[in-house]
């Protein structure tokens, strides 16, 4: 058995090395990312004890179907994003290495306090990355909110510990089954707030606009795709699988999710800057994913989450690059920008259409699955809200795409002479990877069975009706 702890340790080790080997930082980052991607395919499912104490007394790593899929996707996306924005990684190599370690740790750990530690590590790398834009007040805002959030998470966690005397996820999960969950509203809710700050749920996400809205191609896509993906995977782990929620809490969380979804879409509709549109769409998607996790749907939610983070990786990279080169990301000033960058345009379009959930793209498959799930749970209202959100989402994405593809004045035919004179040059890496990702989205949409048989073969649990990893590994106990 290959120990998945390598996924955490190796990047961390290289992070220390990178301080010494200043000139080769970039290469080290690349090595770590490649190592992790390769490693993901080698590691095997199981529970791994760290430090010699048997669970639930010691810390353990849980590698089951869910976390395996998560580390697979997150590591691959991490590699793709740093390759796409290769030119920007030098400055932040060390931080990125630490972040990679933290992200893997968050996904793998089977211990709630350990999760807090990794969460803080990842958050701190996030604060540092966000300073790249030189908009320090946004970073400061992010820092304060992130710290408060994780403080509240810890607060709730400690109360849980006081009640159950354990920090092990599986242990707490089992103990909660025979406990009146109605009495756990306060600690669970504090933990929820803690994760919600990072997961961008309204109203705990005041930092998002400043940070995402000014991020460059590398950092924007990292935040929107890798960071958001990780935190949502963890959210699904904690609130979808570990903690047993009372009906009251489920209702409150679903309400928060729905509000996030609708408010996010509406806010995105009112925006003109590409990155702001994308960030509000990310917020909405987070709300959607969170509420689906809370509803107890795992498989369709994961599908939707994958849809979100893969497409956002492509779109934020492109949007960041555009604003880096053209000095603006206002759609009105970038009319017809894709006319000169067709491959990038196609990738962006495919991603956007997939995010809306239009057929022939992967997003449709996830949308159908989550609707099927919701209907099987008789959650008609949530389904109706999701469809409503889709309408708004479609409206602003199509508006954006139309602006970026077809320049022209109202009442005059679209013509090349209306194309903006701002120039954006996309390098080879971005073109190839963005196009490849959009091709994958397309193929997965045309033949979803491809996804199902290949990617999900190792993930049989997710296909089952009521997946709970707790019963597979029992947290290593």
């Amino acid at each position: 058995m290959t120990n998945p702890v390598l996924l955490i340790v190796v990047p961390l080790l290289l992070a220390f090395l990178s301080v010494a080997l200043k000139n080769n930082k970039k290469q080290l980052l690349f090595i770590a990312a490649v190592f992790n991607v390769v490693g993901v395919f080698i590691i095997e499912n199981g529970s791994y004890v760290i430090g010699g104490f048997r669970a639930p007394y010691g810390i353990n790593l849980n590698l089951d179907a869910y976390s395996h899929l998560a580390v697979l996707v997150i590591n691959i996306l991490f590699l793709l994003i740093i390759t796409m924005s290769n030119e920007k990684t030098k400055e932040f190599s060390t931080v990125l290495l630490v972040a990679l370690a933290g992200l893997n740790g968050m996904l793998l750990t089977g211990d709630l306090f350990n999760l807090f530690v990794f969460l803080e590590i990842v958050s701190i790398t996030g604060y540092i990355l966000s300073t790249e834009s030189k908009k320090y007040k946004y970073s400061f805002n992010y820092l304060i909110l992130g710290t408060i959030g994780s403080g509240l998470y810890l607060f709730g966690l400690i109360i849980l510990y006081a009640i159950f005397g354990s920090l092990n996820m599986a242990d707490i999960s089992f103990k909660m089954l025979s406990y009146d969950t109605g009495k756990l509203v306060v600690p669970i809710f504090l933990m929820f707030i803690g994760l919600a700050v990072e997961a961008k749920l309204i109203p705990f996400n005041g930092w998002v606009r400043g940070v995402y809205g000014n991020a460059n191609s590398l950092i924007g896509s990292l935040f929107a795709s890798v960071y958001a993906g990780t935190i949502l995977f963890v959210f699904g782990r904690v609130f979808g699988q570990v903690l047993v929620l009372s009906e009251y809490l489920v209702a409150v969380f679903v309400a928060i999710g729905v509000i996030t979804l609708i408010a996010g879409e509406v806010a995105a509709f009112s925006k003109n800057k590409i990155r702001e549109i994308l960030l509000f769409s990310s917020i909405a998607q987070s709300g959607l994913v969170a509420l689906l996790f809370v509803t107890g749907l795992i498989f369709p939610t994961v599908l939707q989450l994958l849809n979100n983070i893969i497409t956002k990786a492509v779109m934020f990279t492109i949007a960041g690059k555009i604003s880096d080169d053209a000095d603006t990301d206002e759609a009105d000033k970038l009319k017809g920008i894709f006319a000169n960058n067709k491959i990038i345009g196609v990738s962006f379009t495919v991603s956007a259409l997939s995010l809306i959930g239009l057929p022939l793209f992967y997003g449709f498959y996830s949308k159908i699955n989550l609707l099927l799930g919701l209907f099987s749970k008789i959650n008609y209202f949530v389904a109706a809200f999701i469809l409503l959100a889709t309408i708004i989402e479609g409206a602003y994405f199509i508006r954006l795409l139309v602006k970026l593809w077809t320049p022209g004045e109202e009442g005059k035919e679209s013509n090349i002479k209306f194309v903006t004179d701002r120039k954006v040059e996309f390098d080879f890496n971005k073109k190839v990877i963005a196009f490849m990702l959009s091709l994958i989205i397309l193929l997965a949409g045309i033949s979803p069975s491809l996804v199902k048989t290949n990617l999900f073969a190792m993930n049989k649990l997710l296909n089952e009706e009521n997946p709970s990893y707790m019963f597979e590994l029992k947290g290593g106990m």
Binding site: K137, L143, T147, L154, I158, Y161
Partner: protein, 114 residues
């Protein structure tokens, strides 16, 4: 009792976050919040009449009541993380002062609509 004190400390910290406009004061408030939290964590491990869970020659009798040692370990970690965060926050505060020539969020801000 000590738990109430800690919660009061946390609330003071949050109150500071709510009303303070000065970056340094906000960082201080954040620290007060964290201190309150840390005290709370430690307090959880307290068992009335318990002794330190260390096997010594004095109290080798395992029937004795021990205090919970884990929260102390946790709080160590938490303090370290808090320290790191504060350091980073101060670094950012310095950068902000260089960039905006002010430490007052109201003066720095006012660009909410950008």
């Amino acid at each position: 009792m000590i738990q109430y004190v800690s919660i009061v400390l946390m609330l003071i910290g949050i109150y500071g976050l709510l009303i303070d406009r000065n970056i340094i004061k906000i960082i201080v408030a954040l620290n007060i919040f964290e201190v309150g939290l840390n005290i709370f964590i430690v307090s959880v491990g307290f068992v009335s009449g318990g002794v330190a869970p260390i096997l010594t020659s004095v109290n080798s009798n395992s029937a004795l009541i021990y205090v919970d040692p884990l929260p102390q370990a946790l709080v160590l970690t938490s303090i370290v993380i808090g320290l790191g965060t504060t350091a980073l926050a101060l670094a950012i505060a310095r950068k902000m002062y260089n960039a905006y020539n002010s430490l007052d969020l109201d003066e720095i801000g006012g660009m909410d609509n950008d």
